[in-house]
Subunit: 272 residues, 2 copies
Amino acid sequence: MAWKSIGIFDSGVGGLTVLREIMHSLPQEDTLYFGDTARVPYGTKSPETVTRYACEIATFLMKRDIKLLVVACNTASAVALPTLKRLLTIPVVGVIEPGARRAALITRSGRIGVIGTAGTIRSSAYTRAIKRLKPEAEVLTRACPLFVPLAEEGWTDNQVARLTAHIYLQELKESDVDTLVLGCTHYPLLKPLIADVMGPDVILVDSAEETARTVAAILADKGLLRPPAERGNHNFFVTDIPAGFVRIGNRFLGGKLGDVFQVSLEEEVGMV
Amino acid sequence: MAWKSIGIFDSGVGGLTVLREIMHSLPQEDTLYFGDTARVPYGTKSPETVTRYACEIATFLMKRDIKLLVVACNTASAVALPTLKRLLTIPVVGVIEPGARRAALITRSGRIGVIGTAGTIRSSAYTRAIKRLKPEAEVLTRACPLFVPLAEEGWTDNQVARLTAHIYLQELKESDVDTLVLGCTHYPLLKPLIADVMGPDVILVDSAEETARTVAAILADKGLLRPPAERGNHNFFVTDIPAGFVRIGNRFLGGKLGDVFQVSLEEEVGMV
């Protein structure tokens, strides 16, 4: 029997933190990662545009016969998930629902903080998802636009990163949240710093980790898990020249990035 | 006689610093500004992709009968200028040549620093342009990836910006450059800070200012300047929802941004 791959996509490198967690918890699985590096970032683009991009990428990955699709991009998860779930016959997992569920589960005070890009925070997707599960929760949000460029620059623990984290997180800290959702796939790289700034009383929810758990649970439930004795292969597709993706991606995956192929969605999906 | 407009384009809001200088030195001129906000940033994309985007935008603006095209984007200036000059019948002005010319002219020591995005620095476009004019010049470059998000966040003079500037500029300062080219259209917003960090002995070359001077000189030379008694109109086109462009753009233009129209290049240029 030929085992199918898990498809994962993001606008760029950020989703690699989700892939990392999937590789960690399901090392036997083959994965296909798609980074839309020619059109990154999605956070500043309209819901219509992002949904169109997400559908093009899903079409690309479906042609390669995946068994589950992970939308490892907060913006696309916030705006394109209903459309993707309607169009596809396989399970589709976003990054927002798993993080929101975990936060709603573990909070004691009911005061939950969420940080993300300007687009994710503006969409209120986490707030809605948390309140669906726990209507009495108080959700406090804060956009942290500099965290992504800091993570990509590799400045995850210097004075600039620390000062920036203090400015962004000050208000959430003073609001006494007991749980903080890292609502952006880049943020796990800043996790030690964020944990340090927030202090030991605040539990961080890592959306990447929670998403990987959800993927494992769904595959197990459907009997689609590959035998644990196997060793997964990992392929990467990007829409622009791979150099930048490889450089930054290796930082995300700890140097374990394999072959990266540049592809054209236009040709693939029949567009000009 | 109907006076034609000056066309200006950038991948996003950055080129507004160039527009601001043009409005300042040629207040009588009509302008059409195009920000490709659906596909920003260009700095991480391949030369082929950026050249294709630049040609699409030039086609859009040419249909609106412009008399001169300003490529107010360092990445596009670095990679697409020869193609645009070959295709278009009107003058095409990039942002690299004017800044390089000014730096080559005013340096006394011959040691010139250039800062820009990773893409601009990697392209060596400023170094080549300066050395064409002054082969004996020593050009020292440094990519400053966090300057753009800092400018867009409005953090142009806080401690994070100051610390970041110190880290990025330290080496150039120690190398005793006497001239520093701000090789990115966002950087004029950080000019007071950069000047402060570099000290009074280093002259900053603002590519936006120099580009506006070049535009004025070419239009004067060709007899295409509108009479100074007139008052120019300014229109803005963007490829994604205008909200973010308007918010950040007003910071760039000092609140003077007018109507912004969202357009689709795909329909316009006959693509799907």
